[in-house]
């Protein structure tokens, strides 16, 4: 939006405009509609302000209603030259996003949200690299390059410091690159030290090597940053087979499981409502830490009157037992007291070490929901305690923590979100310096209240109407963004909007997986942050 020597291609002039529906631009005669791409940026030079916006619609128009009915003889090149751009012309719809005044004070102030429209016949130009850079900032410090705008080489940067302050979401149907994006985000957060990560890695994709869609191996976080990442696993056999050097094996004691956890698993364990109530009843009778242990003890198993004594209906009891037997088959659940896994994870996080918890072969939802919820609850409680203590003693708050969960709709659906810890974290946001990075392919399954609390949303291609609606709920320029979102390419493209970017942006996501891309990542990590903190110590 500044003056620059770079020549800008003029696209046309503003012909209509409303703050509600965006700005209509008549394309110049020499601009072909076929060169216009949805999601591309334009700058509009108004009388007093410059506007920065995104193309949300392209259409063919004619000045005369007879033209579509009786098309002119376009086989004649002369007639077709005359008609194009006058009787028939291209039109684009632009959603203005940011504006900057041309006087010195507003230039210093930088881009501001749009509150008006440019005057009639303002000139519209394709945004230059410089414009995009002005809006999205330069890489370095907490600015992490996530990709490039369509058809441009400029970098689009996320402000990670803002990003980790709130819970965020990565959405997209399967195979659109959610995992790649998430991996990039995690690396960005790690490099910028904006927060420390805890990743519930359901499919064991983040810690160590994984295959990409084309069948190449891509490196995981542990391989890039061995000193900064610890891999915890539930399944040491799987880790051994994949030659992953897991730093720690996670074991969970029966005593750590509470009836709330069982309630959460009601659907996956196919428990009835009374069965869940029975679990509470048993816990009440035998005391919270011991109830599951008691239930699994041989005495109780042989005691035929156990249910009757507690006034639990026989079939309900059987339903509960059958469900709980599933848990018993998980080797990572051990009888006995509290495992120290939570403690070890917390210690690592305290030291600023990122923790990735691999689930190995326990890829089913029961294990994932149980473990992720149980560990997060404890970690969150500790964080809360620390923050409260810090408030009381006037000490600095603990380092922000970002918890990454996949298949988030399993935790955050409207029925469960009030019971899981993730619902609480998403709602209470940054109060306790813990936020979520929600990765999901069915955003419509997530509670709308939670969706509305997400700070930054990164959406890959979604083609289900409900999913698109739920991702875009409450965003200004929703219908325009909808058409952009539905036309994203299958891979490596994403729409980003929310707190960490100044305006909604469609990016071609940064390359990940080639040697060059790794070098690039290292280089951006070493870029000295603006605040002057040297980042070299991050590098082994």
């Amino acid at each position: 939006m500044n003056e620059q020597s770079e020549p800008q291609k003029r696209l046309g002039i503003v012909v209509t405009g409303s703050s509600a529906e965006g700005i209509g631009v008549k394309l110049d005669q020499d601009v072909s509609v076929e060169d216009i791409v949805l999601g591309r940026y334009v700058t509009i030079r108004g009388e007093k302000r410059r506007f920065f916006g995104m193309i949300t619609q392209v259409s063919l128009e004619s000045s005369n209603p007879q033209v579509p009915v009786m098309p002119p003889d376009i086989s004649d090149p002369f007639i077709s030259r005359v008609i194009s751009g006058t009787t028939t012309y291209g039109r684009i719809q632009v959603l203005p996003m940011l504006t900057v005044g041309t006087d010195a004070a507003s230039l210093l102030e930088g881009p501001q949200p749009v509150k008006t429209v440019p005057t009639h016949f303002s000139e519209v130009f394709q945004a230059s690299q410089h414009d995009v850079e002005t809006v999205f900032g330069k890489e370095g410090g907490s600015k992490f390059c996530i990709g490039t705008p369509l058809d441009m080489e400029t970098k689009v940067c996320l402000n990670l410091e803002e990003f980790v302050k709130r819970s965020n979401g990565v959405f997209g149907k399967t195979g659109t690159g959610k995992t790649f994006l998430t991996r990039l985000l995690l690396i960005g957060i790690l490099q910028s030290r904006a927060a420390v990560n805890l990743v519930f890695d359901m499919h064991s994709e983040y810690g160590w090597e994984a295959m990409n869609e084309k069948g190449y191996r891509v490196k995981g976080l542990k391989q890039h940053f061995p000193a900064k990442v610890q891999v915890f696993t539930l399944d040491e056999d799987s880790a051994r087979r994949r030659k992953v050097s897991a730093d720690s094996i996670v074991r969970i004691g029966y005593s750590e499981i509470e009836p709330e956890d069982i309630e959460l698993l009601r659907q996956t364990l196919r428990l009835t409502e009374p069965a869940v109530q029975a679990a509470y009843q048993i816990a009440h009778k035998y005391g919270d830490p011991k109830w599951l242990e008691t239930l699994f003890s041989p005495e109780v198993e042989e005691n035929e009157n156990f249910a009757k004594d507690l006034n639990i209906h026989e079939s309900t009891y059987r339903n509960l037992r059958r469900g709980l037997e599933t848990l018993r088959r998980f080797p990572f659940l051990v009888s006995g007291g509290e495992g120290n896994s939570v403690q070890r994870i917390l210690e690592s996080l305290d030291r600023g070490i990122n923790v990735i918890l691999e689930f190995g072969r326990f890829e089913d939802y029961t294990a994932y929901i149980l473990v992720a919820n149980l560990l997060s609850r404890r970690i969150y409680a500790k964080y809360r305690e620390k923050v409260e203590r810090a408030l009381g003693d006037g000490l600095p708050k603990p380092h922000p923590l970002v918890i990454t969960i996949e298949e988030a709709h399993r935790f955050l659906n409207p029925e469960l979100c009030n019971q899981t810890i993730f619902g609480t974290i998403a709602r209470e946001m940054r109060k306790y310096n813990v936020s979520l990075l929600v990765v999901d392919q069915r955003p419509s399954g997530i509670d709308p209240e939670i969706m509305s609390q997400l700070g930054t949303k990164i959406a890959c291609l979604l083609d289900n109407e409900q999913d698109v609606d739920s991702v875009l709920a409450g965003v200004s320029g929703r219908s325009e963004l909808k058409s952009v979102l539905a036309r994203l390419e299958n891979r490596q493209q994403a729409l980003i909007f929310g707190h960490a970017v100044p305006m909604p942006v469609v990016v071609r996501t940064r390359e990940y997986g080639s040697a060059e891309s790794y070098r690039d990542l290292y280089a951006s990590g070493k870029r000295t942050p603006e605040e002057g903190k040297p980042a070299d110590d991050l590098w082994p």
Binding site: S63, F78, T87
Partner: protein
């Protein structure tokens, strides 16, 4: 203001005199029988210091005395020229005149594509314009508006097309001129798509 119309080099293009004048249209009589300027060509005349431009919109040859009918005389002649040779008085009894639509004027050295303040004077000389002058006249295309808006008592569309074809011929890039003129017409005739189409077809 009322300068006499001085003789100049352009007098070689002198073709006739104004015999009927209106602000938007003029009728001129040719000095030579059958030598009316072509349809659509650019002519000029003068009213005081103002040069008035016109586009030839039609010509006719008829008897000087409207009361006397012309009779066929060539029954025994080989060619039609021979008819005139055998009847030399005919050249004096017949007359060719043409109508031009006023398409602008030039005052203070500037071409203006709107009507002059006063019509041409009777007996003002009429000249055809040279290529240079035609290019200067057609530097802006607004004159098309005046022609297209002329009264429909002649074939206005034909005049527009003929005029643009002739002006294109003196341009360095005739095709580009025609495209620009065509675009001008599309804006002018946005409501009359069929009319526009038929003019465009005649521009080729």
């Amino acid at each position: 203001m009322d300068q006499p119309f001085t003789q100049s080099a352009t007098d070689i293009n002198k073709i006739g005199e104004v015999i009927e004048a209106r602000t938007d249209q003029l009728l001129a009589q040719c000095y030579r029988l059958h030598e009316a300027p072509p349809l659509g060509s650019l002519i000029k005349t003068r009213e005081g210091s103002i040069e008035i431009y016109g586009i030839v919109a039609g010509a006719s040859t008829h008897a000087l005395d409207s009361g006397r009918r012309i009779i066929a005389r060539g029954e025994h002649e080989e060619t039609d020229e021979a008819v005139f040779a055998a009847n030399p008085q005919l050249a004096r009894l017949l007359v060719t005149d043409f109508t031009a639509i006023v398409a602008g004027h030039k005052s203070d050295g500037t071409v203006r594509h709107y009507l002059p303040p006063r019509p041409a004077r009777i007996h003002a000389f009429v000249h055809t314009c040279l290529a240079d002058e035609a290019r200067q006249f057609a530097a802006s295309l607004d004159f098309i508006d005046l022609i297209a808006a002329a009264r429909r008592d002649f074939a206005v569309d034909e005049v527009v097309a003929a005029c643009l074809r002739r002006l294109a011929a003196v341009q360095t890039d005739p095709q580009d001129f025609l495209v620009r003129a065509g675009k001008h017409l599309t804006v002018l005739m946005s409501e009359e798509f069929q009319r526009l189409n038929s003019i465009l077809k005649r521009l080729k």
